[in-house]
C-alpha cells in the first residue's frame, strides 16, 4: 500500500476509529448541517461559543475515513480558539488542501496528517467538509448573534 501512505497515515486511521468530540452538545450556540453532494458524506456540527471562544465543538454524521478523521482533528484543532483564530485556521487548512500553503503543524495539530490529501483532488472535499461547516457555523452565529 506504499502509494497510499500519504493518504492514510496511522494518525488518520486512529482518528477515524476513535473520533474525538463525536456526538452532540447539551447546549449548542449554533448548529449546521453540511454535505458533500458528490459522495454523500454528511456532517452535523455544533459549536458552543462562550466569550468569543469555541468552548465546545461536537460533530456527527457519516463519511469516509478522510472526512471522519478530518472532523475529529478539526474539533481538536479549533477547540478553545477565538472565533477569529478559528476562521484563520480554517482558511489555512483550506489553503493547505489546495496546495497553496505548507501545513503549520503547531496550529493544525494532528490535522497536519491530512496534508497528503491535497494530492487527491476528489478527496480534498472530504477533508474540507467539516472545516467549511465550522466556518459556516461561526459566520452564521455572527450574523444571527450580532
Amino acid at each position: 500500500m506504499g502509494g497510499l501512505d500519504d493518504l492514510y497515515q496511522e494518525l488518520i486511521l486512529d482518528h477515524y476509529r476513535n473520533r474525538r468530540n463525536a456526538g452532540q452538545l447539551d447546549d449548542p450556540t449554533v448548529a449546521v448541517d453540511h454535505n458533500n453532494p458528490l459522495c454523500g458524506d454528511e456532517i452535523h456540527l455544533e459549536l458552543r461559543i462562550e466569550g468569543g471562544r469555541l468552548a465546545g465543538v461536537a460533530h456527527s454524521g457519516e463519511g469516509c475515513s478522510i472526512s471522519q478523521s478530518s472532523a475529529s482533528m478539526m474539533s481538536v484543532a479549533l477547540s478553545d480558539r477565538t472565533e477569529d483564530e478559528a476562521l484563520d485556521l480554517v482558511e489555512h487548512f483550506r489553503r493547505v488542501m489546495r496546495g497553496d500553503e505548507d501545513a503549520d503543524e503547531e496550529r493544525l495539530g494532528d490535522a497536519v496528517a491530512l496534508e497528503g490529501v491535497a494530492k487527491y483532488p476528489v478527496r480534498v472535499k472530504c477533508a474540507l467538509l467539516s472545516w467549511m461547516a465550522a466556518k459556516d457555523a461561526i459566520l452564521t452565529r455572527r450574523s444571527e448573534g450580532g
Binding site: 500500500m1 454523500g40 463519511g63 478522510i66
Partner: protein
Amino acid sequence: MGTSMSPTTSIDAAAVRRDFPVLSRTVHGKPLVYLDSAATSQKPEPVLAAMDAYYRETNANVHRGVYTMAAEATERFEAGRTAVARLVGAPREGTILTKNASEAINLVAWAWGVRELKAGDEILVTEMEHHSNIVPWQLVAELTDAVVRFAPVTPDGELDLEGLRGMVGPRTRMVALVHVSNVLGTINPVAEVAAIAHEAGALVLADAAQSVPHMPVDFGELGVDFLAFTGHKMLGPTGIGVLVGRPEILGSMRPFLGGGEMIRDVRKEGSSWNDLPWKFEAGTPPIAESVGLGAAVEYLEGVGMDAVRTHEREMARHLVDALSEVPDLTIYGPTDPDRRGAAVSFSLPGVHPHDLAQHLDQDGIAVRAGHHCAKPLMRVLGVPATARASAYLYNDAQDVEALLAAIGRARAYFS
C-alpha cells in the same frame, strides 16, 4: 470462478479488449481493471477512427450546404441516426439526437410537461430513478403545480409492481421509469408498466441509459412512448444522447430548444417547425458524435446484442458469486443474474465506499463510490453511498478475481 469464460458466452473478451486502446494502460503500475462502465464505457478503435476521419476528411456543417463536403458530412451524420434507430427498432423520424440522456428526458419534461401538465396532475417515477429521471420532473412540476410521486422499491431491490399499480390513477399523466437500474442492476418490467400506464391514459418514458448498451432493446416491444439513452455508455463518444419517441406524439408536441435547423420558417410574428426528427434538434447537432455513435452501434451489432447480454449475465454471476464470498458484505439488488445487469453495488461494514475505491485504485481497479446520482434510492437502502463494480463486453472473470483480491486487502487495511 475460473479464468476462462463460461461456454454460453460467445464473446471473445480477449479479442474485444484489444479493440479498446485505453484498456492496455496501467494505473499505479498495475494493469487497468476497468469496472466502471455504468458510469461511462470505453471506446473501441473503430469509434475513434470514425470520428477522427470525419474531421480529417469531410468536416462541414450539415443539412444546409450544397457543396460536396457538406453533403458528405450530412450523410455521415444521418447515418449515425439511422444506425441508432435500427439498433432499438425505432423509426428514424422518431429518433432525436440530444447531448445526453439527461437532455432527452428534459426535452419531454419541458416540451410536453410544461404545456400539458396542470395543477394536481401526477408524474409517477420510481424510488430507483437516476437524478436525471427525477429532477426534470420536479422542475416542471414546480412550474405547473403538478406532483411527482415515487413508486416503491421492494426490500430486495426490485420494483414493487403492485405498489406502482396502486399509484397509477386518473391523475397520472406520465410514468417515467428506469429500464435497468444503475445502482441495483435490476431489470424492470417496462412493458408491464407501460400497459398499466396506458390503461390509465398516461404516457410512459423509459430511461434506457443502462439497458440499450447492454441487451437487445426494441422500442416497439417495450411499448413505451419515449425511450432515452446516451452515447457515452454504449461505446460512443460523450456529447450525444438519444430520445426515441412515438412520431405521433412528437409530432403533436411543441418544440423544446429553438434555433437553427429545427424551423421551417421564422417570421417576426412567429415560426413554424421542421419535420421530425429535426424539429427537436436546435443548432448545430453533435455531428462527429453521431458519426462516432454510428460506429459504436456497428461495433455492438458486430458482436451481437444477444452475445453482449449473455456475456454480461455471466459477468453478473461472477460478480455476485465473488462478492458473496466476502464476509459481511451486502449486495444490493437481485442476485439472480437473469434479473439484473452487470452493475453490482455493495457495501462493506467498516470500509467506506470512498476508501474502498481509493484502495482499489491503488491496485489498478476502477470502481465507482458514491450515491450514483440516485440519492432517493440511497435513502431507501439506508446508506449514504455504495461501491459499485460494473462490467461490459470487455471485462472477464479475471477482472472479477482482481477485484475480489483487492477488496480483501482493503478490508485488512481498515480492520
